[in-house]
């Protein structure tokens, strides 16, 4: 359908545009973000906030852990 086609083209164009705008992080920014994320996790743990919440609020993605063998 022509209209759907136009929408798809628009979506692709806008995706390309946003990709082109994304500036890569410097090493300093990268490590600062890593450490800031660590701090968010530490504070969540100390405040009894489940990490699942951080996935929703901060977009974090944690590995799902199996039951420990012990």
């Amino acid at each position: 359908m022509p209209s759907a086609n136009i929408n798809t083209k628009k979506a692709v164009r806008s995706k390309r545009k946003s990709k082109a705008k994304a500036k890569p992080m410097t090493k300093l920014e990268m490590v600062q973000k890593m450490l800031a994320d660590q701090k968010i996790i530490r504070e969540a743990i100390q405040n009894g906030i489940p990490l699942k919440e951080l996935e929703k609020t901060h977009g974090f993605k944690f590995a799902t852990l199996p039951s420990p063998k012990n």
């Binding site: 890569p24 090493k27 996790i41 530490r42 743990i45 944690f62 590995a63 420990p68 063998k69």
Partner: protein, 165 residues
């Protein structure tokens, strides 16, 4: 009396978190956060990189003097089991908020060196690098039988190399 070096009993707090309590009653929590976003130059490997987080459950915990080797052994078990998938790799970045990052780095690295026998399946690569005015302490852990371990080491070294000025 023989020294007890057994790992602490691990508890699954929820699907994303492990926990254990030391003989001194200190509670720790562990998790693995995806680091895929930092490996955009290696999209095929990116989903398999995680950071390892080891945090105290209580903010005002006073840590006793002296090393508790059971903590080291517990961490080796947690990280070792995680790497047993033979697809994942773990990047450890030392927290620098209290200026103890160098000590922390030495300790973490020594855990996997000291327990050479139990961690013989794990390759450890450490790379410290300068960014801005700071030195950052990092290391990579990957299973020897991970089919892509060489690519993962190269991707990690690429990530942690210093920027050209």
């Amino acid at each position: 009396m023989a020294l007890n070096l057994q790992p602490y009993h691990l508890q699954r707090i929820d699907e994303l978190t492990y926990g254990f309590t030391t003989d001194n009653g200190i509670e720790y929590r562990c998790s693995f956060l995806s680091y895929a976003e930092y490996f955009i130059n290696h999209p095929d490997l990116a989903p398999y990189f995680f950071s390892f987080n080891l945090d105290l459950r209580n903010k005002n915990t006073k840590l006793p003097r002296g090393a508790d080797k059971r903590i080291a052994n517990t961490v080796i078990i947690i990280v070792g089991d995680f790497l047993m998938s033979k697809t994942n790799a773990v990047v450890y970045v030392c927290d620098s908020s209290d200026d103890k990052e160098a000590i922390r780095s030495r300790k973490f690295i020594s855990w996997f060196d000291y327990y050479e026998h139990s961690s013989s399946d794990i390759i450890q690569v450490s790379n410290n690098f300068k960014a801005g005015d700071m030195i950052f302490y990092t290391c990579l852990l990957v299973h020897k039988q991970n089919k892509r371990f060489k690519d993962m080491i190269l991707a990690y070294l690429d990530l942690t190399k210093e920027e050209n000025k």
